[in-house]
Assembly symmetry: C2
Homo-oligomer: 627 residues x 2
């Protein structure tokens, strides 16, 4: 008989009952604690570090531990087994935080769609509407039945009549009609062909109509709480996709989904993340989840399939087919998302297996689809999607950049969070950096790596191939690999460094995006200079230094005023999708207009990619002038 | 502390754990055994007889028991308390049977809608359709997504596209599409504005498409199992509405529904009855309930409200308003009916609070709505509904006949079942009768009472007022009331008799129906002779003796060839509603065309009713000639 023991997890002081001999990583997942693990528990990525506080354990990697790590009792969760009651501590850089940004928007203040007002651009007609009606009471002169009475009043304000109403609403109707003296509020879901009454309430509750917009990224999930009646975002939040515990990029997620029980686990991980955010957003605004009837999801195809618990396998198998480009509306309860039981979940239509609804959102929010001049839109994430075009045409492509710029797959990479290093300056042997929040550093985030790479190159510490050159005193060698030590004084006492492997990773990431841009342009016979507007979207898009991004060859060398940062266009698209029928109609139209360049089958791409694996790239003299 | 004891119920050998001191009637209900109780447990109707076998009990009516009943240990369940472990036996005449008529229709043989073929009259387009499709496999030349591929093929055979598809179907789609090499079968629900894909199956399952038609009467429930693809009824069944335990007529049911928890109990009773029938019908035909996607309900307004668990209270309160005349489709799982989880429940639209969907069905099945000549349709049940008209107009009315003709509210009344006396002949002092199945008599059913009343009158045993006259040796007096003993040799050893109160009841019942007919005719300025076709529907409609029904004044004296028995038009209407879009369209149209005469507010009705409380009635000489 296998004994059960307790794993106590600090700083949450959470006890998890596990079987003796279980590894710590899967024990944490069982206990609902998700820490970063890029390889999914294979012992390769070495990300899932935890600190042993006390108790009985067995580590499979005793030999490999550096003295320092052993001193500090740092072990890999996936390689360490619980052999008796054990107490561990989660390290801040590994925790997949649930903290929602404390950023409440004033109605008159900063508001995401003020810059591209949905109202002006698209017209307003939300996907879930509340309709207040005052019905005359039944009498001998007017014996119309309760339900037909309701429809009769509805007909006075709209030509269209719902095709469906659930039984709970009908059951409530007779008493509400009489107790409320005919004053009642319908909640209707209406989208293209769909038109259903989902709830009936007594009196006028039309002010209580809220929606949740969600951007599901491979790594990061962002959400906003909308007051639909007032057309404002009340609160936004960002957190990490708990699926990260099961692998870091789209393909490893699909592979995991193909295993027995894998799809369900991935589905539950993302649904739990989303439900947690909904609770945080609504509770901090004092809003009941019962007043939320719609959730709109913007995300890449794989994320949408996984959220809906739909087999994503054929997205990665030839001929690469999604289960749907335009998914119908689903009941929130069928998806597992906890809003009003009768609410719906909608997803923004996506054009191609690797250019999904998040990019449809980007096209609409950037306005590229109606530009007169030639424009380019790039969304930088774990995948980099590019759209080139204007009001006449739209061409798209997708490149697998890897998660390096999101702080994954690089040794001291972290997401944008307190303690993340985001700027660098190197003057001889001095390294100056700034962290988010000004606290002790915990690692380097994407924008930090762009600056670090640029500074290393400008200071001749690495060459155009990214290889360490010279004899800088901060270059050391460990386990046969060179690394540049940024600081020894990190929050957890370990050094923070950039390794040769990290640099190779980063160069591949920036190269993938740059070469995707150049390939798509060459494919349609255009040059960089033809791009008059260059829109950049993505989680880190707001904080990168353009000049340095050009200098390392992530972005092409265009006049700085042509670049425009749009922030998270995926999330803003989800907000637009909730609020506007015209937005929804356009999103269905856009994907028909969109053509796709398959980089993996493009003869140009491999050549462009090879050229881009330099700093900045081999087109250097053509496109870049050092200032 | 109250002790729990066992109530053992024979012949089921079922043990029910009950609190000491509980009455037997409610203990039986708790155990899922429903016996006849017209008064709902008040000790008035004296119907809920049971036999005590052994054990400890206390009867509140010791004094009132006849020696004979005491000898045989017959007690009223509602007046008898369980004081310790107790064993009782349910008497056959009180049990609310679940037995389904063993009547399988051959495809070429007797089939209910052969006489009015739905196909010819209404055209075929069932409410739930199975559509077999063969989809081309995805390829690099044809990369349409799975769902859009499905819609594309569907568009080739129909202009209309479903507005909705459930998530389970979408989840199954990718594997079904590939494993089945594109061959799949959709199950769609389509009705007027409603069009939903409810299931997707691999391969061709279009032969497996079944539906259940149900007539919910106040007393009796009839059901048929349809093979939708083949357009035939596979099997029919009839059973008793378990709601009878909570009161016998519509008004007492509504009053019970108004009590705390009452609506739920009534809803559960009828849903359990219906679910039991569905199991019986499908099992005996070897059909899975998962292949049933629709149930169509035909019934009076109150029955429909109760089935749907919708408050029926306002049907009996001024100004008498149903919650809906045309209910939308509901999910079977929301109603609690056990067919395929994704199936639907539809109800036939009803015109007025007391002229419901069962009468809409009768109008369509009788064809009165398209008659050239003036016609009359009457459905005789606990309520008697009458429709007069032709292709130009339709007028209806409803009279509360009471359940006497259905074997309730009369001392030895039983439903049509084995042992029920259904024919009578009296020659002097000899009483000849025949029972259903030729077994020992257990009571008298509706058609039996018509014949008995007629024979008593013709033999001068009762006068025109229904009062016992003369000195027939079978007339005895008991508890101060005269009764005519039909036999002492019944199945349970008790006498079977018709009392003065029974006769009064029966005269009131036949009078209510006859006067309703005469009132509606007078209201629109017509005479009996103007009626060229006289359609009779209802459970007992097939077996009554017309001549005797005319002689007692239940039916008007018209040439016999004008009468036509239609049997259960309510059930046949439900079958038509499943099979034909045109039937469904007409049923929505018919109720708009129908006008209503409210007898309770009619000045003519009371006069007509008073005149009808004679045998045959005071219009005797005008309408009847003794043969």
């Amino acid at each position: 008989m296998i004994k059960s023991v307790f794993l106590t997890v600090q700083p949450f002081n959470k006890k998890i009952l596990v079987k003796k001999g279980s590894d710590i990583l899967s024990s944490l997942v069982k206990g609902g604690i998700f820490i970063t693990s890029h390889c999914g528990g294979k012992g390769i990525c070495r990300k899932c570090k935890i600190k042993i506080l006390k108790g009985s354990f067995y580590s499979e990697e005793e030999e490999k531990l550096t003295e320092e790590r052993k001193d500090k009792n740092i072990y890999l969760a996936c390689r360490t087994k619980v052999m008796g009651n054990l107490e561990i501590e989660i390290l801040p850089e590994t925790v997949i935080s649930e903290k929602v940004e404390d950023k409440t928007f004033e109605k008159e203040g900063e508001f995401s769609y003020r810059t591209h007002p949905v109202k002006d651009d698209f017209g307003l007609s939300p996907i879930t509407k509340k309709i207040f009606l005052k019905l005359p009471q039944p009498s001998f002169e007017d014996t119309t039945s309760d339900y037909e009475r309701l429809l009769r009043e509805l007909k006075k304000i709209t030509d269209e009549i719902p095709f469906s109403i659930n039984i709970e609403s009908i059951r409530k109707l007779p008493n509400i009609l009489r107790d409320g003296l005919g004053e009642l509020t319908l909640t209707v879901v209406k989208d293209e062909k769909y038109y259903e009454v989902v709830n009936i309430e007594q009196g006028d509750t039309s002010l209580n109509n809220f929606g949740i917009a969600i951007d599901i990224g491979t790594t990061t999930i962002a959400a906003s709480l909308l007051d639909i009646k007032e057309e404002v975002v009340l609160k936004k939040g960002v957190t990490f996709n708990r699926q990260a515990s099961f692998g870091d990029d789209i393909i490893s997620r699909i592979v995991f989904a193909e295993k027995k029980g894998g799809l369900k686990k991935l589905h539950q991980a993302v649904v739990e993340t989303v439900n947690g955010m909904i609770v945080n957003l609504t509770e901090s605004c004092g809003i009941s989840i019962n007043d939320i009837y719609c959730v709109v999801i913007s995300g890449n195809m794989t994320m949408v399939h996984l959220l809906l618990e739909i087999n994503p396998s054929f997205l990665r198998k030839e001929p690469y087919i999604p289960v749907a480009n335009i998914f119908p509306l689903f009941k929130s309860s069928d998806v597992g998302i906890r809003i009003n039981r009768k609410g719906v979940v909608a997803t923004i239509p996506g054009g191609y297996p690797y250019v999904g609804g998040d990019i449809t959102a980007g096209i609409l929010i950037s306005g590229i689809y109606k530009e007169e001049v030639l424009s380019l839109f790039v969304d930088i994430g774990t995948n980099g999607e590019i759209v080139v075009g204007n009001k006449d045409f739209l061409v798209c492509a997708s490149a697998s950049a890897g998660p390096a710029f999101e702080g994954s797959g690089v040794r001291n990479g972290v997401r944008v969070m307190e303690g993340a290093i985001q700027t660098f300056q190197i003057r001889n042997e001095d390294v100056h950096f700034e962290t988010v929040g000004g606290t002790k550093p915990i690692g380097i985030c994407g924008s930090g790596y762009i600056e670090l790479l640029c500074e290393l190159f400008k200071n001749n510490i690495i060459n155009r191939n990214g290889i360490f050159i010279g004899k800088h005193k901060r270059i050391i060698e460990k386990d046969g690999m060179k690394e540049f030590v940024v600081t020894e004084n990190s929050a957890n006492g370990e050094e923070i460094a950039i390794t040769q492997a990290d640099i190779d990773n980063l160069i591949r990431a920036k190269g993938a995006i740059f070469s995707a841009i150049s390939t798509i342009l060459k494919t349609i016979g255009l040059k960089f200079e033809d791009i008059k507007k260059f829109y950049i979207a993505g989680g880190f898009g707001n904080s990168i230094n353009i000049k340095k991004a050009v200098e390392i060859g992530l972005l092409p060398d265009l006049p700085e005023e042509r670049f425009k940062f749009l922030g998270n266009t995926s999330l803003r698209g989800a907000e637009g999708y909730i609020l506007s029928e015209e937005f929804r109609r356009l999103s269905r139209e856009i994907i028909k207009k969109l053509t796709y360049v398959d980089l993996s089958r493009s003869p140009i791409y491999m050549e462009e990619y090879m050229k881009s694996l330099f700093i900045p790239h081999t087109d250097y003299l053509e496109t870049l002038e050092f200032k």
